[in-house]
Symmetry: D2
Subunit: 309 residues, 4 copies
């Protein structure tokens, strides 16, 4: 309870910007909210209130540039900046406005090699519904797959143990679930799912030799029926699917994993339980993880473990 | 509209009877309704009214012994017997009582090599709900996967064209959907889905060199949410899954295919549209069938085409 | 099994035509398919194939002009025409083209005073999906409440017993469920739900002193979740609701009843079971009907019994 | 972010203890976890981990004795005790063990007249699932209505403004939604929905002349389909329903309100959005609240405003 509120934004590298804009806006169904002088394109999910949660940046390689979490206020930002430095990580301040409608960001590199940011300010532009006597959804709720929010991300890199220490001890996250490695390797934690709220995960990491890799960005769907509707839209648009629809054992979430036009994996995710901050973590053994990944099939889809950007 | 009402029963060969009884009764959640002097075990789905729809028969090979459809009455049975003979197929009468609580059956071998039966009488034992002021479901609706009915079956064998002629011209079925073979082969119909009601299929056939093979028996689930619940139960019991959960393009149905302890494939199936008898058939090309099988993934799961019992 | 296929069309009297067109097209979400020289406006549900299932006719009183059922072919039409006359009802032939894209209609007045029609021909314009490799739904499936088909209607009038005899003995319908009157009145059937398919009802009648009244037209929704979405749209548009969302005990269907701008009641209806033609009817006692109408609440909503057009 | 975690327990007064135990255990489907020397009976929802969330106490009047929230740890409890006193409310310490398996409780009376408690310790007995490789649900998830957790409560009393100040300024809750009174009365807040997490409400209050009244305890359901299943079980058991199934405009939640055998209202509640702590409150005007209460119907059910225990 350190004042870290939620995953706020991720900047994604895409190979063909306009093709990607088409995908994220018209097929996934995000709301385009701006473009900046660097050519970056900003999006939010329909039910999000802040200006943007996804930024597309043209590049010659796919992957994630950085992930940012929103914190409660400027004082929290200052305090956490000091705490992160005390933990031993150098931090950098990016000026307000460097991202559209976004305040100063404190950036540092995680032990797993990912650029991670904290920020306290982002312009609230609303979810398209009035604040007085609102209906339960807007027309955007039926446009494309229409996720409600950027939910979490899963990142791959070395030294997951270092990230765990940082997120739990410094940033105040809870360890909600974890995956152990093989018994013969002494069962280290090779996967950790952590929350700064009572979601099953606001961020997750899996051990991987190469630093700074993206496994997937996850977008929240209201129901299992809407996950299938997302799957239908994937089929209509020939979006390549990795896994699903199915239920994860981990988090109990209902899911489809698929790939965007650049090969970045994304998830349409519903359901799951809501762990309160005093919950004890759930453990998946290396052998049990097949059901953790795909509960009905109990299948350890090879691509889940190996394909990242 | 010849008076063929519905798929009534299927007799399934299983390798280990008690293991299979456990599976069909306690995991799939059927209601055991009797055992006969041959050791066969009879089941019905909770919302079916007739005595039995699935009969297990111990054997040293898996597969289906025969499939039977119920017809309107004895006169219909007599008439259809004559029509089938006139079509050129020899028929045989099995005496009432040969199957528990079941009247005389007219049996004949389909062009695809399957034993097929018609019958007019089966004792109605009810669905466990009163006929006066009934509640919408019984406690059995939560026991195991709890399908509501034996819905249809898909059978593999040679000469699907012969079956089509028999079912459409003699038995009064409608062709609802069909799959074409590869263009270079002249695009014969390699799969046909036929209905004697306004279901998307009461029976289906796929071209296959070996006669008399079973692809799957299908059990009806009320909703997509209950399909996932069935998938959860498969995961809990380590039931091997072939495909799903997903949506078929063919029939639009929501599905999981899995295997019983003997390797017989079964389906838990929900949704789909309801074609009236005057509808025009839908065609799936050989190339398009990947989406016909798994609409979101557009994946031509190899096992679907090759694994039968 | 006389060849009566389904409810095909209903002509509805509305007070303000353009307001009604807006309601049925933009709020309920039907597809407008034509207007004729009498100013009538034709609609179909998105997943119907025939030209039209609802016709709006401007009038100074609300209600239903007539209901028409499609039959298999011209021969069936001729045969049923004779059978209806033999039953003692005069019949009239309306010429092809009197309704847009519709063949000759055989019309007669039911014992309950309603104009009822049979016809064999209506131009098939399709459901907006290709007949080859179709996706599972079209963009129209998200426009307004987006029912998939005109499902059934409930009509009020005197002499329900006469209708039952006609529909069961002449037209080949099955009695699926029935409501008994009060015990002190000798428990006559005051409500009957009949099917010419394996739907729980294709048409229903309730005893009422005034002839020819409409209780409601029912539109089919794919799921309970879509029934709620329809309810949301009713709330957004201030459509007056009579009952629901809730589940009927009768048919087990999931439902909302509401009123169109002219005061004609309509239903958005999902779920329910699928009775085969050999099923035994379910009986609701007068006292038990409160749960038959609203299973959770067990409440005999007064308006259901008294408000008709 | 003061360390108040969640609604932990409520002690409910019931008129006939064994009848109430039957209702809460066998019909609502809670898990009975203990009885104490005062005859109180303890329950938890199947997916809760702490020993108990509902305590039934025999009485000659219905209502709620007290509601308790769990806080992070003993230090938090001490700090909040001081803060509440500084706010001007006297507090009392109840010894550990006064409630079964529960640590010391700090109790005080809210401005609205309700006894409110904070506590840091309650024995964790788990949710019946293993902590290693768990399945997604236990057999208890199908027993009765089977809510997953005690979600929130709505309490009626005078001086809602006083409660708001206490909960927002001292206990760190967020105001998520609010209902205004009539314009002619100057539009005071007559209803407030507050969260200490990102639920739409962990506790809510409505202005009412009589202090200390209970409007309802709310139990969480996984889906809208399970809300209907709860409604079916209400119908099967003739549980009197107040409102629903329907959707609230307030919180967007899917709901049924009904009464326990003592006349205490309870809710089966699913869905809703998940407001992060930096969200702006939503306002319902007095005139708009009809849709806030029942979004489809837009109906201001009289009982909601007047019937409390």
């Amino acid at each position: 309870m350190t004042g870290v509120l939620r995953p706020g934004h991720a900047q994604l590298r895409v190979l063909d910007l306009e093709k990607s804009v088409h995908f994220y806006r018209d097929i996934l169904g995000l709301v385009e909210t701006g473009r900046d002088h660097l050519g970056r394109v900003y999006f939010k999910c329909w039910d999000e209130h802040d200006h943007s949660s996804l930024i597309l940046s043209a590049s010659d390689s796919a992957g994630v540039d950085f992930v940012g979490f929103k914190v409660l206020d400027a004082a929290t930002l200052d305090r956490l900046e000091k705490d992160v430095r005390a933990f031993g990580l150098p931090t950098e301040r990016l000026p307000a406005g460097d991202l559209l409608e976004t305040g100063e960001r404190v950036r540092f590199r995680l032990p797993t090699g990912h650029l991670f940011e904290l920020y306290a300010e982002k312009t609230r532009i609303g979810n398209g519904l009035p604040k007085i006597n609102p209906p339960p959804w807007s027309p955007d709720a039926d446009r494309g797959m229409a996720p409600t929010r950027f939910d979490h991300c899963l990142l791959y890199g070395p030294n997951v143990a270092g990230n765990k220490e940082l997120f739990v001890k410094v940033l105040g996250f809870n360890l909600v679930e974890r995956i152990l490695g093989p018994e013969e390797a002494g069962e280290p934690e090779i996967g950790i799912f952590m929350s700064c709220s009572h979601k099953t995960h606001d961020i997750a990491f899996v051990e991987y030799p190469e630093p700074g890799k993206l496994h997937h960005l996850s977008f929240r769907m209201p129901t299992w029926e809407r996950v299938l509707r997302a799957g239908d839209i994937m089929g209509m648009n020939k979006i390549p699917i990795d896994i699903g629809p199915t239920r994860h054992g981990v988090t109990r979430g209902e899911t489809i994993y698929a790939w965007d036009p650049s090969g970045n994996r994304f998830e349409t995710f519903a359901g799951g339980y809501e762990p309160y901050p005093d919950s004890d973590p759930i453990t998946w053994t290396f052998d049990g993880f097949a059901h953790g990944l795909d509960y009905p099939q109990g299948k350890l889809h090879e691509t889940f473990l190996t394909v990242v950007t």
